[in-house]
């Protein structure tokens, strides 16, 4: 079943056609990777899909609903959640609190209920805390729950950011370069974590430059160049695709 469907989407910034006429689908339960040289439009596409930018033309369907006009918080509320290439944790909050913010869409207490500390919020707060801690245990970072998030190591911050996204219980998780800045061991662990997330029933769409990671975990790969799709296939076929090789390594002459 198709979970996300990008249909003929284009986005232009002044004189730069960042994404042009792009279409592809993401099947539920799969891991799909977006690759391409720098400036190919991968992050722009993430911004379009997650609602941080609106496409100039084209449509984006999530679970059959057109979402290209919705704002990012509305899209997140529908179960499409992203992480950022440059980690965007909330400073002055502990790692646990960062993840608790991710429970926002699954809780209700508003301004009045919060100010009056109404009894129904007590149970909700407890559930938010428990669920967030469970996620930290699942990710193996529970020891750092009470540490200020931005003082953790880079690799741990990445995991906290993914934990925050998982706390939203997304159907589709967008990971923007999850292995950027990680060493080899951490990259391997990240690969295992992404596979684990898929096994939890969460579909994953990722942008990544680490080719060994992409080839190992992806079910399908979309290759972008100058905002256009030049290939979409299984990892093994992508490796043999002459157009992809040309884009990455250049022409013979």
């Amino acid at each position: 079943m198709t979970l996300l469907s990008v249909r003929d989407v284009s986005k232009r910034f002044g004189g730069l056609q960042a994404v042009s006429g792009l279409s592809f689908d993401v099947v539920q339960g799969s891991i799909k990777a977006l690759i391409g040289p720098n400036g190919a439009g991968k992050t722009t596409l993430f911004n379009l899909v997650s609602g941080m930018l609106d496409p100039d033309t084209g449509e984006i369907f999530f679970r059959g609903e057109a979402v290209q006009e919705l704002s990012s918080h509305e899209i997140a509320g529908r179960g499409l959640v992203r992480t950022f290439q440059h980690i965007r944790l909330f400073p002055k909050m502990t790692a646990l609190e960062n993840i608790m913010v991710g429970r926002h869409v699954h809780s209700k207490a508003g301004f009045i209920a919060g100010m009056l500390n109404l009894p129904f919020t007590w149970k909700e707060e407890r559930r938010i805390r428990e669920k967030s801690f469970e996620i930290m245990e699942l990710l193996g970072i529970a020891d750092h729950a009470q540490v200020e998030a931005t003082s953790l190591s880079y690799g741990q911050q990445r995991v906290v950011e993914i934990g925050r996204a998982l706390a939203c219980e997304p159907q589709l998780l967008l990971l923007d370069e999850p292995a950027a800045g990680l060493n080899m061991r951490e990259t391997n662990e990240m690969g295992e974590l992404i596979a684990k997330i898929r096994d939890m029933g969460i579909t994953v769409l990722l942008v990544e430059h680490d080719m060994s990671l992409v080839m190992k975990i992806s079910d399908e790969i979309v290759v972008l160049s100058y905002g256009q799709k030049i290939a979409e296939d299984r990892p093994l076929s992508i490796q043999k695709n002459p157009e992809v090789i040309r884009v990455y390594l250049g022409d013979e002459q």
Binding site: M93, H104, V105
Partner: protein, 358 residues
């Protein structure tokens, strides 16, 4: 839970201790300025929520203070007995929204009841805050500061230039505000002690609301908007709506402060709406450590009291301007903060170690 309410109890103890101290040293006159300090503190803690927690600056909160104070003053001080016959006034009268009292010369005045005026003032504040906040909160940083400053200036010029608001004289002869159980917000010196407790009771109530809020789902969302607005949106937090709501909330705190202080003082003048007042409020929140309700409250208690007692003399506004500059230069996290002692140690042990923390 306990760590949240223990300081509140300690603070209540401090308030009682101050009153007892003035009682035994026969210096109850201090309570007048301390009561006024309490009302300013209501505005301060609300502004601290907006600036410190949600990360949205406002240089226009004296405007909201004045909106509350002026509406309440106008409605409760204006004599309606000359137009008693008009349909609207007799309707208000029948609805029980009017109250008559004796004026200084024994004549009788017919005014809007303070409770009714208070409701009108708060509703007006909410409406104005929504209309101002909606477009203005799309701006960030310096631009937001300038836009709110503009709002403050507009309110100041309006109250200064409007004849029926008393122009440069402001509104006087504002009656007391009867609360529940015989308590009244009024400047009568016979009721000084009860007014002191009423005012600080309101501050403590406001603090309880805000302390609950910052430990709630909404509080975390506000801090997350402060930290990384795009990331907050990406996990489903409607940042624009939350910013607007907390702006309106802080405006209501400011408005209530203005309403009650006006009834306590028996009047309000245009200086309450001046931009220097807004700057002073921001300075106090900054000294308190921005995202620190207790810091803002304690600094408000000290600085407002000193200012109202006249310790700063004619340099009153200068002092707050200098405080703001010094804090921004040397202690952008405020005076009362976690690493205070280590920083002091570094400062006194000499050396350029202080630069490392930047």
């Amino acid at each position: 839970m306990r760590t949240r309410y223990l300081p509140v109890a300690a603070f209540a103890g401090l308030i009682v201790a101050i009153q007892l101290a003035t009682h035994f040293t026969d210096s109850a006159y201090h309570l007048t300025q301390l009561t006024m300090t309490a009302y300013y503190s209501i505005l301060i803690v609300g502004l601290c929520m907006l600036i410190g927690y949600a990360g949205q600056i406002s240089l226009g909160h004296a405007g909201f203070f004045a909106i509350g104070g002026y509406i309440s003053a106008f409605l409760t001080a204006r004599d309606l007995s000359s137009i008693k016959g008009s349909g609207f006034v007799s309707f208000l009268s029948k609805a029980g929204l009017l109250v008559s009292r004796a004026d200084l010369y024994g004549g009788s005045l017919l005014n809007v009841h303070p409770w009714c005026a208070c409701v009108v003032a708060v509703v007006a504040t909410v409406v104005i805050a929504y209309f101002v906040g909606g477009p203005v909160l799309k701006l960030r940083g310096h631009y937001l500061a300038m836009a709110t400053l503009g709002f403050g200036v507009i309110i100041y010029r309006i109250v200064l230039g409007t004849e029926f608001l008393g122009a440069a004289d402001g509104i006087s002869d504002v009656p007391g505000f009867p609360l529940i159980a015989g308590l009244e917000v009024t400047g009568k010196s016979s009721l000084r002690v009860s007014n002191y407790y009423v005012a600080w009771g309101m501050v403590i109530l406001g603090m309880l609301f805000l302390l609950n809020l910052i430990h709630s789902r909404v509080g975390r969302a506000l801090v997350s908007i402060h930290g990384a607005e795009d990331a907050a949106g990406a996990v489903g937090i409607p940042a624009a709506r939350y910013k607007l709501n907390v702006f309106v909330l802080s405006a209501v705190f400011a408005s209530l402060a203005g309403i009650f202080l006006t009834h306590y003082n028996g009047g309000i003048g245009p200086s309450e709406a001046s931009v220097m007042k807004s700057v002073r409020y921001v300075a106090i929140v900054a000294v308190g450590g921005m995202a620190n309700l207790w810091g803002a409250l304690s600094m408000s208690l000290v600085l407002n009291y000193l200012s109202l007692r006249g310790y700063f003399g004619s340099f009153d506004d200068t002092v707050f301007g200098v405080i703001l500059i010094l804090i921004m230069l040397f202690a952008p996290d405020g005076l009362l903060r976690r690493h205070l002692f280590t920083d002091l140690k570094r400062l006194f042990s000499g050396g350029a170690a202080g630069e490392e923390g930047r």
